[in-house]
């Protein structure tokens, strides 16, 4: 396994991306493409599972922002699942929880 991996699961109208590893300046691109591709699928809800994400830097936040903006175009919100507490802390403090759903 590489330092960062994304696996994609599609169930009915929900696309779930399971990320594993740190999301930082070196790996954010590996999340960018599949997440934005999922956000572009019409009528599909998008959930990013962060259970196995150890760390997220501002490069990672930028990818989340772009996905959230793409989903907003069709009145959807990005869902984040299994967010580790220290990442939830950063997302809340940065103000992301006002436009991204965190569970």
């Amino acid at each position: 396994m590489g330092e960062f991996e994304v696996t994609i699961e599609r169930l009915a109208a929900m696309i779930t991306l399971h990320a594993a590893g740190p999301v930082d300046g070196r790996t954010a691109a590996a999340l960018h493409e599949p997440l934005l591709a999922a956000a572009a699928v019409p009528n599909a809800a998008v959930c990013l599972d962060l259970a196995r994400v150890s760390y997220i830097s501002n490069a990672g936040l930028r990818v989340l922002l772009l996905a959230a903006q793409a989903l907003r175009a069709r009145d959807e919100r990005l869902h984040l699942a299994h967010v580790p507490p220290h990442i939830a802390n950063v997302l809340t403090s940065a103000g992301f929880t006002s436009f991204v759903d965190v569970a």
């Binding site: 740190p22 930082d24 300046g25 070196r26 760390y55 997220i56 830097s57 501002n58 490069a59 936040l61 930028r62 922002l65 772009l66 959230a68 903006q69 793409a70 907003r72 175009a73 580790p84 507490p85 220290h86 939830a88 802390n89 950063v90 997302l91 809340t92 403090s93 940065a94 103000g95 992301f96 929880t97 006002s98 436009f99």
Partner: protein, 573 residues
Amino acid sequence: MSLAPNTWQTVPGSRSLEIFPILAKPSIVSSNCFIVSAPNAILVVDPGASHDQTRRISDVVTAAFAASQRPVLVILTHCHQDHSQEADSLTLPAGTELRRLAHDAAARVLERSDRALSCAYLYPWNPPVCNAPIHCRLFAPDDACEAGGLTLGRGDRVEITRRATSLADDVALAERSVALGDGERLDIYHTPGHTSCSVSLRLGALLIIGDLPFAANPGLCGLDGWNHEELVRTLQGLDRMLDKPDLAICCPGHGYELSTAAMRYKLRLMREEARDLTAVEGMNANRIAGLKRYTDEFLEETSALFTILSGRLYAASYYLFDEGMERLTVPIDLDGIDGTLTEFRRFADAFNQCTTPELSVVLKGVQAARSLQEALAGDDVQRFLDPSLVGRAQRRLTDFLSIVRGLQFLSAESPSRVNSVLAQLVARAAPQADTDASELLAVADDRRSFLDLLTRRLAVRSPFNQVTVDLVEACERSEAGIAAERLDDIVTSLIEAMAAGGARHIRLGTETATDQLLVRLTADTTIGAEAIGQRRLALYGRTLGWLGGSIEREQDAPTTFLLRLPELHGAVG
């Protein structure tokens, strides 16, 4: 004028000296090496501590030897492991006469395999100290080496002489000279400070100065053998020397060469820094291990703060721009900040796989802290980012650099009125009414200015509008031995973590217990310990501990933190 690495070239200012610089990737693991071809000798300055580099040196010297058979002189700028380890490891043709030269103090350190003064203890793989004989002990009290010269196998001698220095007495550097043939010579100056055995080497218009340019760096000052007085005096002497027009290039022990003008400027800045380093705490294995833990905590806290700072700008842009349309264009290098932190984090991870010395991680932290300080220095940072968050980040960076350097920032801690600090914090956390729109209206005709202003306003809005923070139970006594900003930083971080962990109401209060002032933070729910992060909590505890206070999480639900504040005038170092 510059030196090209890994190739032979004429030494500037000489007729018949050639130099082959091998520049190692800057680290404390191995130093640069300079191979010099002279008419009657081949010099190897600082073989370093990398087996790969040793093979390279052996190949280059062997080829030079094949071209003209001469004795090989291995010269050490000082005794540290990263410069000296391979002094006995070169593979040279049979019959090569090899002689080692070093300052007398370096010879004594290496002979007794002193792991402290050679800094061999820094490396987790426990490398051996090179204790091969030093044939010429420069600057020894009896001047034996200088009197007899360096004797070679067939009775030949390399002449070594004392030279009268031309510098004013107050900054004179002791000097020796080695005859290299054809009128060429190697001048050796005793330049203590980084270590007592440090020497600088002059060949033509080129000066090799070992690790002097790093002697005031956080994490390096205070190492065994470091001496403030000697360092200041050496820097004065070098300043005079570098002022001479007949010197052109300066080569440090790590990294690229500089022009003498640039090196003189660098050393002058360093002299300013060094002036205040009179009470530096000594560096040893225990302190380095402690600094490594502090560096881990610093990385966690700093990463979080900078990610939040950038994240607030991104969050603002969510409301301002659509995907594919206008992008955030604040003149702040967010990618650069991310790159610095990513590199630092990866480096720290490498330590956990036992491939990096603890001190390397600390020094990487210093490098990252300085880059981040620069990133926060621009005017636009204060314009676009939340000033309270920027202030917190700046204070963490300053603390880190001071602590690593061994300075007691705590002695400068001025007492705060705790109730007043908490009252201001509560006022800041209160939901903000929409502010005056006149500023926005004034720039409404200019789309760029309007978006900039709106971005700024959104970026500094507290995301904790859904949380109420109340100050209850304020006791009469209110002064404690902790600076207002430091107390504010710790309490704010805890409130943010509690809010992110699900608290909607947080109560603050002050009380006293056994003459100590306490601050109590109580959430309206129980919050997982991991919401705050153990390392960040450890950092707050460590900082309070340095001052004579502490932080604890009470076991009872709901979640409560108790800060025991340092007593007035009770600060400890």
